[in-house]
Amino acid sequence: MTPHDVLRSLVVVAIPTLLIAACGGSRAPAPLPASDACLVTAASAAVDSASIVVTSPVNVQNAPRATTWGERFVFELANDSSARLDCRGRPAADAAGPYRIREAGRSTLLLEPIASARGPRLTIHSASEANARDLVDAGVDLLLTDSPKLAAYAGTRSDVTSLPLGWDRTWVVVTPRGSLAIDTSQGFRAGLARDAVRADARAAEGAYWWTDTTGCATPTARTAPAPVATHGVVYPRDDAVARALAERLVAIIGDRATAAGLAPNAFASALTSGAEQAYVFPLPRATRDRCRSIAELFRNTPWLGVQSAIVPLIDTRLRAVVRRDRLSLRFTWDSSVAIVAAHP
């Protein structure tokens, strides 16, 4: 199990905490907003097909356990729309889908709604920033990216609306033995957000679900981490933000430290063993079931809590650039967006 599995499980299970995190409020149930308060954009007419670009790797072989935010977006489309919640935590009955994958190319997916479902056919491109610019210039209906530069470039088109989504992920560093002195100051974290990563980031802030174990059955017997195998700071290989943070930590730690990107399975194994110096990975800011997420986190890191600490570094968010009057989008509980099948 990787942190992405945790993420995935948290995404799948609906819980009212979604509303709290996505809308930036406290965990107490908030008064319901107006009926279209979660609506991002609205199209005057439904379209048969739409093209979407995500600047994140998408590997359908990983389904249903998403390892990147791009996979999380795509796999969510395959879920039953009745299980989805909007930003207020209410069922999003008008959400498009569920979808099935009709074709899966090297970087392009063709998705179509299952027989009883509504919604346009979707062509989803998983592209690098450079290729995404070409696709933007060619005209896409929706661009989801974590690159402010790309979003800014795409926003220069006159027929699009660019808007940031909610802060949805917190990037943490976990040191199994607490042997690395990580600066936890606001200034350090702000520096990381400003200089080290290229994503839309801020210093990590707010309350974190993993720090509140009230009412949750947390395991009492913890295992000590394995002896140090390397001097490495490891991160998920396809995660550019994690890589940038790990490299910055290595630069600060000194000569002997190295940064290493691991494949999803290798990262999960390394995380379970606790044999590395430090792990950098994202955790979702929102969870639908706090206790379940905490249990999942403890299961994936059996040594957590012995001498270790989870140090939040930065929060990040995605940006959506939408062609006007093509797609209707609605904020979801976890600060993402969902395609609306037909505007009510």
Partner: protein, 578 residues
């Protein structure tokens, strides 16, 4: 070691040594010529490699110069680096990466005048780290230098140069270069058989207490093999080596070496062919040599062995030696000489036997003469006594005769027994109880004494009885007493016959005199045949005593000192063991 083994070894050495020398010589000559042919070629390649490195260095310098020029007109760079515009900070941090990719460099670092990294291409997030030593050291080197560049995944080797630029009166240093890995080294291997390795000083080499052993270092994907020193080790390994020094910067400026080695496949083939022919010739020569050696050694050693056997069985009574005498070589000569010697030995042995017979007859005659004289002396003494009595006291003649009759009868009996023994030539020694007291008294009585000489007896009681022949015991005692009397000079003296029982189951008879005694030399030869100190002595008395004593399984020993007399001790087996 046998003659045959020596012959085999000699043949083997005689065959193998010249052949071995020939093989080694041919190999060395071939190697030397081929190595000489290729040495210049490899050194030329090393020069070309050096020019390639220089070209690469110039290329790096050119690219850094271009970047430095571009920086002077880069407004966003000025805003970020000079004015501290936060909005352009990301541009500044990404500048080195972009520039590195644009110029094809693998390593690029921009530092401010304090040595603080403001932008890094190969390690973007190492910004703000202080590394002022690198540009300073590079400025001193004035050429491309090998460094261990730090990257997030670990250090890598890079060939770097430095440049600087002034922007708004602030100095910025550019350090850039290319990665030195197996792909980099590959460019120098223009020919098949050419190997290029980079040897850099190890970490330990920097320890002043440890010598530089040229240890290997693994950097990034480049595993640098062990140094092959430039000596004739290379030639032995069928390769030629040349080296190119390259400055290497660690804590201080040292030297790494680009080692270019060239395999000479034809040398290996040639050596293999030579080795094969050498082994074949060696086998053939050794086989032929061994066969010849075996044949020759057999031909030589077989007659010798026969001759040896014949010599070991030479019998002076047997037939003449005739082995191999008909051969006309050295062995035949040896056999004939051996036969001649055998003939001479036979003649000598015959003469020796004849002389022995003559000597034995002479000895016997002397022995008989001696023994008869011993028997006649008491008779003559008695007769002289009787004549003296008849002339002076005729009336006592009958009484004296009666007194001395036993002496006459005893002497006559002794002579009779002696005559019978000699008649048998090999007298048989009897074994019966002998009263040594009686014999001692009889000898003391029968011994003629003159002047002040006295023969006394000191006899043990009861009388000890020895196991032996009475005649032989009498001869022993008689001889010793007569010797003792003859040893006394004109002043006279005593001869004492003492009998006793020895504690070891023997009967002891001691004949002691107060005569002149014997010197050590006389003592050493006392029992030798024909040794005598008397003008008319036969030299047989004591030797006869020893032989007779031995015949009775007894022993005789003598103690004497000049002027202190002599004592002979006879020990004979007792009839009644104690």
């Amino acid at each position: 070691m046998t003659f045959r083994s020596r012959l085999l070894i000699a043949f083997a050495l005689a065959a193998v040594l010249p052949l071995g020398m020939l093989g080694v010589g041919v190999r060395r000559q071939l190697t030397a010529r081929l190595v000489a042919q290729h040495q210049q070629r490899v050194e030329g390649m090393a020069r070309v490699a050096g020019q390639d490195v220089e070209r690469e260095s110039a290329s790096i310098a050119s690219r850094l110069s271009t970047l430095a020029s571009a920086l002077r007109t880069d407004d966003r760079f000025r805003l970020a680096a000079v004015r501290g515009d936060v909005g352009e900070r990301a541009y500044l941090l990404d500048w080195a990466g972009q520039a590195m990719r644009t110029t094809g460099l693998d390593m690029l670092q921009l530092q401010d005048s304090a040595g603080r990294i403001v932008s890094s291409g190969h390690f973007r997030n190492e910004f703000d780290r202080l590394e002022p030593e690198l540009p300073r050291a590079l400025a001193l080197a004035k050429s491309a230098v090998l460094v261990r560049a730090r990257a997030p995944e670990g250090p890598f080797l890079a060939l770097v140069r430095a440049d600087s630029v002034r922007v708004a009166d602030r100095r910025f240093d550019l350090v850039g270069g290319v990665r030195v890995d197996s792909a980099f080294l590959q460019r120098f291997t223009r020919e098949e058989g050419l190997h290029v390795t980079l040897v850099i000083p190890s970490q330990q080499a920097r320890d002043p207490h440890r010598p530089d052993r040229g240890a290997t270092l693994s950097t990034g994907s480049l595993r640098i093999p062990r140094l092959t020193a430039r000596d004739d080790t290379a030639a032995r390994n069928d390769s030629i080596v040349a080296e190119l020094p390259i400055p290497y910067l660690t804590d201080s400026l040292t030297t790494a070496r680009l080692v270019i080695s060239y395999d000479i496949p034809e040398l290996a083939l040639l050596r293999r062919d030579v080795d094969q022919w050498f082994v074949a010739a060696l086998v053939a020569v050794v086989a032929a040599g061994l066969a010849l050696a075996i044949w020759l050694s057999r031909r030589l050693s077989e007659p010798l062995a026969t001759l040896t056997h014949a010599a070991s069985t030479i019998d002076l009574e047997g037939p003449e030696l005739s082995v191999a005498a008909s051969r006309d070589d050295e062995i035949g000569t040896l056999a004939r000489r051996l036969g001649s010697m055998s003939t001479r030995l036979r003649a000598s042995a015959a003469r020796l036997r004849q002389a022995e017979r003559r000597a034995t007859v002479g000895d016997m005659a002397r022995q008989v003469n001696h023994d008869i004289k011993n028997g006649l002396i008491p008779i003559r003494n008695v007769l002289r006594h009787l004549v003296q009595v008849q002339e002076q006291q005729p009336q006592e003649l009958a009484t004296v005769f009666a007194e001395r009759r036993s002496t006459l009868e005893s002497s006559v009996g002794y002579l009779d027994t002696l005559a019978r023994n000699y008649a048998r030539l090999t007298p048989r020694v009897e074994r019966r109880a002998v009263d040594v007291n009686a014999i001692a008294a009889e000898v003391a009585t029968s011994t003629a004494v003159v002047g002040t000489i006295t023969v006394k007896t000191r006899l043990a009681e009861p009388a000890p009885r020895a196991l032996g022949d009475p005649v032989v015991v009498r001869r022993i005692v008689d001889n010793l007493v007569r010797n003792a009397v003859e040893s006394l000079d004109a002043r006279g003296g005593d001869v004492t016959i003492t009998t006793s029982r020895a504690q070891t189951g023997f009967v002891r008879i001691v004949i002691a005199d107060t005569g002149r005694g014997m010197s050590e030399e006389e003592l050493a030869h006392a029992f030798d045949d024909f040794f005598t100190t008397k003008p008319d002595g036969s030299g047989l008395g004591l030797s006869v005593v020893r032989r007779l004593t031995t015949d009775l399984n007894g022993s005789v020993r003598v103690e004497s000192a000049p002027g202190k007399g002599t004592a002979f001790t006879i020990e004979l087996p007792s009839c009644t063991p104690s």
